[in-house]
């Protein structure tokens, strides 16, 4: 062909090329930010997409699809112990305890690195750091040094590559020194927000009499923190109000960080994206028994709540874990049917949208009206654990085995393959507590044996 092609043809071809380029880059952007995945998910699972922000009055049962017969069966099961008391003689108990110890030992000594699932988001991927998530620290001004230590370890092991924001909350006011020290301790591009907890969310509710509170606490003499009003306020805040705080409203996931904790291993994937993609609403590390005197009536009150609202019970709830009467039968007796097993919530990765659902809200309102946060010493840990174990499908609760974490005095330390340098070697794999007599407080073996299935164990 001789000669330059005519102007009209050139302009048409150029226009076509530009339009094509725009389409391709538009699709790339959309897929990069995960919109195509969300679209396909919405197309395949319409129920879940419509389920959030739901009004229970519209549906008088089956919020979780539980049939009334299943609820009744579950309620009956919940009232019975895990292992029949008649079968529990000395030898049987010893064997069971030995088996649990062995389970824990075996699980913790299996070398792992990270979940073996597809779609793990690595640092530098398009989705890395794009989840609606934040770190939550409820601290006082005097905890500055310790919280900086925790945050720096967290940054080094995880957040340096993902850049998630921080939210600091205080029931009082943060001093300028505190804020400046935190801002300078973190990289410049970190989003840091400071807020204080409104008295309406923190202080004694009007239905509690302070004199009666002091009376009750005198009776509960030996329990840690029983006499500190601020501790009760904190437990109540962490149970029912924290996800309503204005600074947290815009986030879906939150990772709670406390002062004076240690992280020993690198986390090389985005945990929030992991939870979203694998349909997990809660992630924890340590699983313990609680002091039964502090939650004496919690279980009986929970049972009456369930009798009134049986439709909140999830048909695949983690009831065996709640009913364990083998390892600490004394705890089961004092609480009239609750093993006192709970997730240690000083580390939790929580999907706050699940907390905003009607089941949890109703449960919290009910417990608040029963005044147990003040007349007893209900911690936010057993309360949240019960809610999760009863109202959520057990497969949506995730044990972060690979996170090496320590908060005095308990530690979760995974074993690493020989050639791996993911962990810095400062914790011993399988180590749980420095004092031997506290080994019995570990409820993780119960969870592994009764709640986790082979698929969960093979995830690592």
């Amino acid at each position: 062909m001789v000669g330059w092609p005519s102007r009209r043809i050139i302009s048409k071809v150029a226009a076509l090329a530009v339009v094509l380029a725009l389409l391709v880059s538009g699709y790339q952007l959309a897929s990069g930010y995960g919109y195509t995945d969300v679209l396909s998910e919405m197309a395949s699972k319409p129920y879940r997409w419509y389920a959030t922000g739901y009004n229970p009055q519209m549906l008088n049962y089956n919020v979780n699809g539980t049939q009334p017969e299943t609820s009744r069966e579950l309620l009956d099961k919940l009232r019975s112990p895990l292992v029949d008391n008649e079968l529990l003689d000395r030898k049987v108990v010893d064997d069971l305890l030995k088996e649990r110890k062995q389970i824990y030992w075996n699980t913790l000594h299996t070398p792992i690195t990270e979940p073996k699932v597809d779609g793990l988001v690595r640092p530098g991927d398009k989705l890395a750091g794009s989840s609606r998530a934040c770190f939550l620290c409820l601290v006082r001004n005097e905890d500055l040094e310790e919280i900086i230590g925790s945050i720096q370890e967290l940054e080094e092991q995880f957040n340096r590559d993902f850049n998630y924001p921080y939210v600091f909350l205080n029931d009082g006011e943060f001093t300028e020194d505190f804020k400046n020290a935190i801002r300078k301790a973190l990289p410049k591009d970190r989003n840091i927000e400071f807020g204080n907890v409104a008295p309406s969310l923190w202080d004694l509710p009007p239905n509690i009499n302070e004199e009666e509170f002091k009376e009750h606490m005198k009776k509960l003499g030996g329990i840690q923190h029983a006499d500190q009003l601020s501790y009760h306020n904190m437990c109540r805040f962490y149970s029912k109000s924290f996800y309503h705080h204005p600074l947290l409203k815009k986030y879906k996931y939150t990772w709670r960080v406390e002062p004076g904790v240690h992280f020993y291993c690198k986390i090389e994937y985005d945990v929030f994206q992991f939870m979203q993609m694998n349909d997990k609403i809660y992630g924890y590390v340590l699983n313990l028994y609680d002091s039964p005197e502090s939650i004496e009536t919690l279980w009986t009150k929970t049972l009456s709540f369930l009798r009134e609202h049986p439709y909140y019970l999830n048909e695949n709830c983690a009831h065996e874990w709640i009913r364990d009467n083998v390892q600490k039968p004394n705890n089961y007796e004092i609480t009239h049917g609750y093993s006192t097993c709970h997730f240690w919530t000083n580390f939790e990765i929580m999907d706050m949208d699940w907390l905003r659902e009607p089941a949890y809200e109703a449960y919290m309102e009910y417990l608040d009206s029963q005044k147990g946060f003040y007349y007893e010493r209900w911690g936010d840990a057993p309360v949240r654990s019960l809610a999760l174990a009863l109202f959520a499908d057990r497969r949506r609760i995730h044990w972060f085995r690979d996170v090496a974490y320590s908060h005095f005095p308990y530690t979760n330390c995974p074993a690493c393959p020989e050639d791996s340098d993911r962990c810095n070697g400062d914790c011993r794999p399988g180590f749980f507590v420095p004092w031997d007599n506290l080994e019995v407080e570990n409820c993780q073996a119960t969870w592994i044996k009764y709640i986790m299935d082979q698929k969960d164990l093979d995830m690592y």
Binding site: G3, I148, Q152, A185, P409, D426, W435, N437, L438
Partner: protein, 404 residues
């Protein structure tokens, strides 16, 4: 002065008349491309210019006469507080004994890790002595008291308090154990307290000053005693109680001034506390084991653009633990541990003679920035000219003299 024509001879940018110039479409495209590339490069240069980098420099440390501060917070779950003692010895021959009695806080921990109180067990510091003036405490054979009857009261050899008896026993190299059946100790309640607290743990927090030379800081059981023959500890009670050991959790260990929080992530705390959070609980019985950390301390200084200067010390630590009876471990049967010593936690520190100075500087100076800008503009234009010439020639040859 200069005639117009003289300056004209210097003009390197000779221009041509408008009608003689040929303007082509491809030339226009190439010119626009060059503009875009130049702008992009200039923006890059500007971003580079505003960057601040930290340049390290090694110098020989000149501050060797100053003392170095040590800050520590360690938990020993299996050693009671009153049995724990902290001594510092350095190669200048200076010895600081019994530091835990001054400047350090010892918090007793019960079997569940709860704090019981931070009072240190004082061995007879009370002054109100209910005994009468002529009381001369027996030393139980540790000191020669046979001539006491002949001597006047002031020169008698007496062991008045429990502490005196303990010192006498140490000097005589006798085992004191828990002071049972020694009247002074029973009266002071020392024996009872010691035995009650045998299954407690201890948390030690505090600061100490070190000389900037090689030395050892050790936590050991029993009172320390300096003797011409060497440094000893009274291990009698520790050896009698096999449940005790020096497993530990290091909550914090750092040398030098603590780094202010506002200097921390500007790089200043890179390696100032690598042992924080370290838990040491070996699977084997460590009753007669010695844990050692060999640390090498590097003094570091950070100088920031806003004239802030932070002096601190980074260190690297190597961990080792060995049984006192020596011999080989099962995982390395051909390597033998040395025998001897006493159980405890030893931190052997050594000062590096080099100091690292990290200076914050702008990555480029003004003149280099301007130079880079000019170079990039010039280079891009030169390449553009060459490209244009090639395309013009190519077009002329391929499509003939048809006007483009």
């Amino acid at each position: 002065m200069f005639k117009r024509s003289t300056l004209r001879t210097f003009d390197a940018f000779s221009k041509t008349e408008e009608d003689v110039r040929i303007r082509t479409r491809t030339g226009g495209i190439i010119a626009l491309l060059c503009c875009l590339v130049t702008i992009f490069l200039l923006i890059n240069e500007w971003l580079n210019f505003s960057q601040v980098v930290s340049k390290p420099e090694l110098v020989v440390d000149k501050d060797r006469q100053l003392k170095l501060q040590l800050d520590t917070d360690i938990v020993f779950p299996s050693v009671p507080c009153d049995m724990l003692s902290l001594d510092i010895m350095d190669s200048a021959g200076e010895i600081q004994l019994d530091l835990l009695e001054s400047g350090f806080t010892k918090t007793r921990l019960d079997q569940k890790g709860q704090a019981l109180g931070s009072s240190s067990l004082q061995v007879s510091k009370e002054n109100d002595d209910p005994r009468d003036e002529n009381y001369c405490g027996a030393c139980y054979g540790a000191r020669d008291q046979s001539k006491n009857n002949e001597l006047p009261k002031e020169e008698r050899v007496c062991c008045q308090t429990c502490n005196d008896v303990r010192r006498a026993y140490l000097e005589a190299n006798w085992a004191f154990f828990d002071g049972k059946n020694i009247e002074q100790c029973e009266m002071e309640g020392y024996v009872e307290r010691v035995n009650q607290q045998l299954n407690e743990g201890c948390r030690v927090q505090g600061k100490a000053l070190l000389n900037r030379i090689q030395g050892t800081l050790h936590f050991a059981p029993g009172v320390a005693f300096q003797h011409p023959r060497g440094h000893f500890h009274d291990l009698s009670l520790y050896q009698k109680t096999p449940s005790l050991n020096f497993n530990h959790i290091i909550n914090h260990l750092s040398f030098g001034e603590p780094v202010e929080p506002n200097a921390r992530v500007r790089g200043a705390s890179v390696s100032t506390a690598p042992l924080d959070g370290r838990q040491v609980f070996p699977e084997r019985d460590t009753h007669m084991h010695q844990f050692s950390y060999f640390t090498k301390i590097v003094p570091t200084r950070y100088e920031y653009l806003d004239k802030m200067v932070v002096e601190t010390a980074q260190f690297s630590a190597t961990y080792h633990d060995r049984p006192l009876h020596g011999g080989a471990d099962h995982d390395h049967p051909t390597t033998f541990h040395s025998k001897g010593g006493f159980p405890g936690l030893f931190i052997l520190f050594e000062m590096s003679p080099l100091k690292v100075i990290n200076r914050e500087q702008h990555a480029q100076t003004w003149s280099s920035f301007v130079l880079n800008c000019i170079t990039s503009i010039g280079g891009v234009l030169a390449v553009g000219t060459v490209l244009d010439k090639i395309t013009y020639r190519a077009q002329r040859t391929i499509w003939g003299k048809k006007s483009v």
